[in-house]
Symmetry: C2
Subunit: 275 residues, 2 copies
């Protein structure tokens, strides 16, 4: 018998992976949560049947969502991750020597607990002494903290269901207020190939709030189309002006100083989205 | 009833697309050839059940395989495409004003004929007056022509079955001899995420023959992992030294002068492949 897991990434497109076994499956207060072991990508975290991260390619997403804003900022001391209960973004954040505190605010306690059990290589820094884990609503947390963080990372699920509010202009406004006067936020904002309307709208919203708005991309095999983007809003520092020669060599598999620059260079069709 | 076409991109990974109808299907002298109409990517050309090109995302592959070498060369007049019977690479080549002649050498006459019938937006330049279409073995053609082309594009299927010889060092040696003294060739060389051994071997082979060897990448949703690479061997011109400010604006959707530079900037794990 062969088992294949299929995610329908759009109503007319799917990715299908041969599966060794289901390691965990439950219905949490918020969503269906599962960890399966696939042949191609190893262990894979699923929320409502959608691939969140896999041990084979998680490095791309987590390195790119964390190091690009952290190295754009001159001296980040305090960072917040909204969502990201698997801990991958936190793991990358604590690699930065200047970081004194990293807060994770994840709404679903079970995502954290299951990641700790089944994805130790991703969640490994959640017990780091610099890390505070808050189980709660990220929108509420952001609204209750003002002028506090150097970097905020919106490490959310897709903009349907529980994460919808994390893609709204009201939330970006709260993020602005939650950042210090030279703060930077980054949000994962889906695929430039198939989420054009969403990205165009987000860019417009962020531009209306932040003096510097940028879009950057990377290659993630298990996400729809394999091509993914992040939107950055920055109060002071421009990632295009980062002195990449000053970026220290850190332990990464995708991110490097040259990629810090190249990730912002968009193909023509994607440049149209940020006009 | 719903019809879904699934390509198994590896033994443990597949892409699946909802399909409106099969427009064409036949067994040619060389392979199974089909054109299907999918909801997500429109018309799609399949050879032996493997996606070759789709009307939705073909622009990435064809622009990147053609314009990068053509704009690296200072004054390309004569270009050869080995394979590429759909005509997409030829369509891009004839956009260059300096091109006087473009030869297509495709082994399977039916690929050309079926592309002309079902993929007119891709094959549209095959009847251009600058284009010569040769139905024949690309290896034989290259071996019989010496010191003749400015740019050679190896627009092949995967390195199994009929195209295997197009990934061999003997063929690259013949390509070297077929190029003029300042010639450049580019070959499609699969995915940096899952074809690491192949790419490492090709880079080593090309380095042993050409003074300048480069790897560049782009994002192609319908190819395995969505992240694709091309290997360039050049006798004189280095694409990293192209004066990108001198590149004229041409009608493209992915390629642009900035991408000409950025495509060669590789994430850390891919840089390992070319060491």
């Amino acid at each position: 018998m062969e088992l294949w897991f299929t995610e329908y990434q759009t109503p007319t497109l799917g990715i299908t992976c041969k599966t060794k076994k289901t390691l965990h499956s439950e219905k949490t207060e918020y969503q269906e949560l599962a960890v399966i072991e696939t042949e191609q990508f190893g262990r894979m975290l699923l929320l409502d049947g959608i691939i969140q991260t896999t041990v084979a390619d998680e490095f791309v997403y987590h390195e790119m969502i964390a190091h690009v804003p952290l190295f754009t900022h001159k001296n980040p001391k305090k960072a917040l991750v909204v969502g990201g209960g698997d801990g991958g973004s936190i793991r990358e954040i604590v690699k930065h020597p200047s970081i004194e505190k990293a807060v994770l605010c994840e709404i679903d306690r079970r995502v954290i607990e299951v990641s700790k059990e089944y994805l130790p290589e991703i969640s490994c820094a959640l017990d780091n002494e610099k890390v505070e884990v808050v189980v709660g609503d990220g929108i509420k947390y952001v609204k209750e903290h003002k002028n506090e963080f150097d970097v905020i990372i919106i490490d959310s699920t897709d903009p349907i269901g529980p994460a919808e509010g994390l893609f709204a202009i009201d939330f970006y406004r709260a993020v602005y207020d939650c950042l210090k006067e030279d703060g930077i936020f980054v949000a994962q904002t889906e695929s430039p190939f198939i989420d054009k309307e969403l990205i165009t709208r987000i860019i417009r919203d962020v531009k209306s709030l932040f003096p510097i708005t940028r879009l950057y991309t990377c290659a993630i095999p298990t996400y729809p189309t394999g091509y993914w983007c992040f939107t950055m809003g920055s109060k002071k520092y421009d990632p295009l002006e980062t002195d990449i020669d000053s970026i220290p060599d850190i332990d990464t598999k995708y991110y490097c100083p040259q990629i810090h620059r190249a990730a912002f260079i968009l193909p023509k069709f994607a440049k149209e989205l940020i006009k």
